[in-house]
């Protein structure tokens, strides 16, 4: 019986699962170390993230999950939902302990809840691919601020790296104050000490914006306006596909 602390990363969480099996731990709770409030009586165990152990758990899971559910553990983890660790822990334990595949038992409340969380997180990560808008800086870096509901930015990096392989880019999660920078070779995590952009509309400061940038923005805005068919106006449908909370950083909506 113990509270387990880990570093808040997915690798850390996978290591936690590993240690639970290896050391026969029965956690009462699994908490991110920086959000854990020390109290006098709580006993806790600190987990040290280990990539190899976490990879082993991940590989093990891949073999026990239905192809449609292979990404479920990571996507639901990214939801940052309260208590997601324990919910996932119970689910993963059931997955490993039963001989049969149980992850499609959607009539089970734990499984169904996770499946629903997965769907929402998946949609959010899709929306990053849709709604990121880059602005070009004078050092030829394409910069985009975002504010996703869940911590899904890491999940989208592969896409951006493949697609924008020949341009430097920086995508910044304003809400969680960290981002990823691609230097034409590697993607690295970073935090900006100084913010050279408006947190209201994401616009880069003029003195670091590339010359052509404003032109492209007005071309895009104008395109957005003229490709619309006035006789078919349907603002409700527009909002359904592109909820209002993304508009803040959308060039065409500012």
């Amino acid at each position: 019986m113990a509270i387990i602390l880990y570093d808040g990363t997915f690798a850390g969480f996978m290591t936690t699962i590993f240690e639970c099996y290896a050391q026969k731990l029965e956690p009462t709770n699994i908490c991110k170390e920086d959000s854990f409030q020390e109290s006098l009586f709580s006993e806790h165990i600190q987990i040290v993230t280990d990539l190899e152990k976490s990879q082993r758990v991940w590989n093990g899971l891949q073999q026990k999950l239905h192809p449609r559910n292979r990404e479920l553990p990571v996507l639901t983890f990214l939801s940052e939902e309260d208590g997601i660790e324990m919910r996932l822990y119970r689910f993963i334990k059931r997955v490993f302990n039963s001989r049969q595949r149980i992850d499609t038992d959607y009539a089970d409340p734990d499984v169904l809840t996770l499946k629903k969380i997965e769907r929402v997180v998946m949609r959010e990560s899709m929306r990053i691919l849709q709604f990121v808008r880059f602005q070009q800086t004078i050092d030829d870096i394409y910069f985009a601020p975002i504010e996703p509901q869940f911590d899904v930015l890491p999940y989208t990096l592969k896409h951006f790296k493949n697609r924008f392989a020949d341009q430097k880019w920086l995508i910044y999660d304003v809400k969680r104050d960290y981002g990823f920078f691609y230097d034409l070779d590697q993607v690295t995590e970073m935090t900006l000490n100084e913010k050279n952009f408006s947190i209201h509309d994401g616009k880069l400061a003029d003195n670091i914006t590339q010359e052509d940038e404003a032109t492209y923005q007005s071309l895009w805005k104008s395109y957005f306006k003229h490709i619309n068919i006035e006789e078919r106006k349907n603002l409700k449908l527009q909002r359904q596909h592109m909820p209002h909370r993304y508009w803040k950083f959308l060039t065409e909506k500012n």
Partner: protein, 435 residues
């Protein structure tokens, strides 16, 4: 310079917007050391005030045209601003937009200037320049111009992901009336050529590793609905033939907008037939994802779609003898035919019932719209509702129920069924670790 390009873009986007196709789907093109790639499901980057998706930069190369098709804003007898872009201008716009993640790619079409070959060549040149000089691997959709030489169309197919030839008017006789300078053979000729080209490419690809791609995302077409008197049944059976025989990837339906209301050959419409257009898309969806045949949706006795209820519900009501479906036993295909059950729910039902018998409560939680489905299913405790219903009574009963719902929820009738097909973003877990 900036002013002129801005102005041209306005004119040429305005001129292109009536072509409804905007999909960037159907092909996975990897990035081979340059800019961009294409994902199989495609991505919508924005949504205009009409609720339509912006996936591609959709413009005409020019809106000058030597033809005079009755239904088209760009016909030569219309007095409107005209513009032409150069090959380089289109290339720069595409790249500039693409690098900013505004778009998935380019959809380039054109009015006919000089002749078909001249027009086709310019479209092809844009695609070639993007692929070879800019090393661009994003999506390209080009219009194949009827009457252009096979050699040019072949060239275009080597660089484009998708080609389309628009049929526009569903019957030859009506096309003759509205666009006397055009005919069916000139539309079908490039369509046939593209189909054979794609078949050849697919066969070669099986044999050799390095085969030159040819239109890997297939071809599509557009039909205008409501500009001419064809029935929905005529339209759907044409579409079904295009899917089955011509192997088209998509058929688009465009509700006719009265752009040239002075032309007496066209019907005087106040508002575009949007509900009808939506019903056609739903039927099309049934054919492509729900394994329905065109003649199951409509018949000569019933040539028009029911505007008040969707075609899947209409099918179920016409075929009450096939229902109720036993959720715990019926095969996937039949579950898919139940109104209120979408592809996603149907899959979940089949997966989940292996563990226990499903009840209506489970179904509800899984996401089945029980308000609809209840008349057409039996599960553990739910008694069959359908046996006692007379089709006409059931139809008006359901309409009545949903209308009181719509009154509360506003106009949701126009939204398509919402089965999103989320992009599969496969990632290595190692990419996800923050350190």
């Amino acid at each position: 310079m900036n002013e002129t390009i801005l102005n041209k873009l306005k004119i040429l986007a305005d001129a292109a917007k009536y072509d409804v196709s905007c999909a960037s789907s159907g092909n996975k093109r990897p990035n081979t050391g340059g800019l961009g790639n294409a994902l199989a499901p495609g991505i919508c980057h924005s949504f205009t005030d009409d609720g339509r998706c912006i996936s591609l930069l959709k413009i005409l190369m020019t809106n000058y045209c030597i033809y005079d098709c009755a239904y088209c804003v760009n016909r030569r007898s219309n007095d409107r601003p005209r513009a032409t872009m150069t090959v380089q201008e289109v290339v720069d716009l595409t790249i500039g937009f693409y690098r900013r993640n505004y778009i998935e790619g380019l959809f380039l079409s054109s009015g006919i200037i000089k002749n078909a070959d001249y027009t086709m060549e310019r479209l092809m040149l844009v695609a070639r320049k993007l692929r070879t000089e800019e090393r661009y691997n994003g999506y390209i959709h080009l219009k194949a111009i009827p009457g252009a030489s096979p050699e040019l169309i072949k060239q275009a197919g080597l660089f484009a992901d998708r080609l389309s030839v628009n049929i526009e008017i569903p019957t030859e006789q009506q096309l003759q009336l509205l666009a006397p300078e055009k005919d069916f053979p000139s539309v079908l000729q490039p369509m046939n050529q593209i189909r054979t080209g794609i078949q050849l490419y697919k066969e070669e690809r099986k044999k050799y590793q390095h085969t030159q791609r040819f239109t890997p995302a297939g071809q599509s077409t557009q039909l205008i609905v409501g500009a001419s008197p064809e029935s929905d049944q005529q339209i759907l059976s044409l579409a079904s033939g295009l899917y089955d025989q011509q192997k088209l990837k998509r058929v688009y339906y465009s509700g006719y907008l009265p752009v040239n209301d002075y032309d007496k050959r066209l019907p005087a419409l106040k508002i575009p037939p949007l509900v009808r257009e939506n019903r056609l898309y739903q039927s099309d969806w049934l054919m492509r994802f729900y394994h329905f045949q065109a003649d199951e949706i409509l018949s000569p006795e019933q040539p028009f779609l029911d505007l008040e209820i969707d075609p899947k519900l209409a099918y179920a009501i016409r075929n009450l003898h096939l229902f109720p479906v036993d959720i715990n036993r019926a095969d996937y295909e039949m579950i898919l035919r139940v109104p209120g059950i979408g592809v996603q729910s149907a899959k979940m039902i089949v997966d989940a019932r292996r563990f226990r018998r499903l009840t209506s409560l489970h179904l509800k939680k899984i996401g089945v719209v029980m308000k609809r489905a209840q008349y057409f299913i039996t599960c553990n405790e739910l008694a069959a509702h359908s046996r006692d219903w007379d089709p006409f009574v059931l139809r008006s009963h359901i309409i009545h129920e949903s209308q009181s719902k719509y009154r509360k929820a506003g106009d949701t009738q126009l939204s398509l069924f919402h089965f999103s097909k989320p992009a599969k973003i496969t990632s290595q877990p190692s990419m996800l670790f923050k350190h």
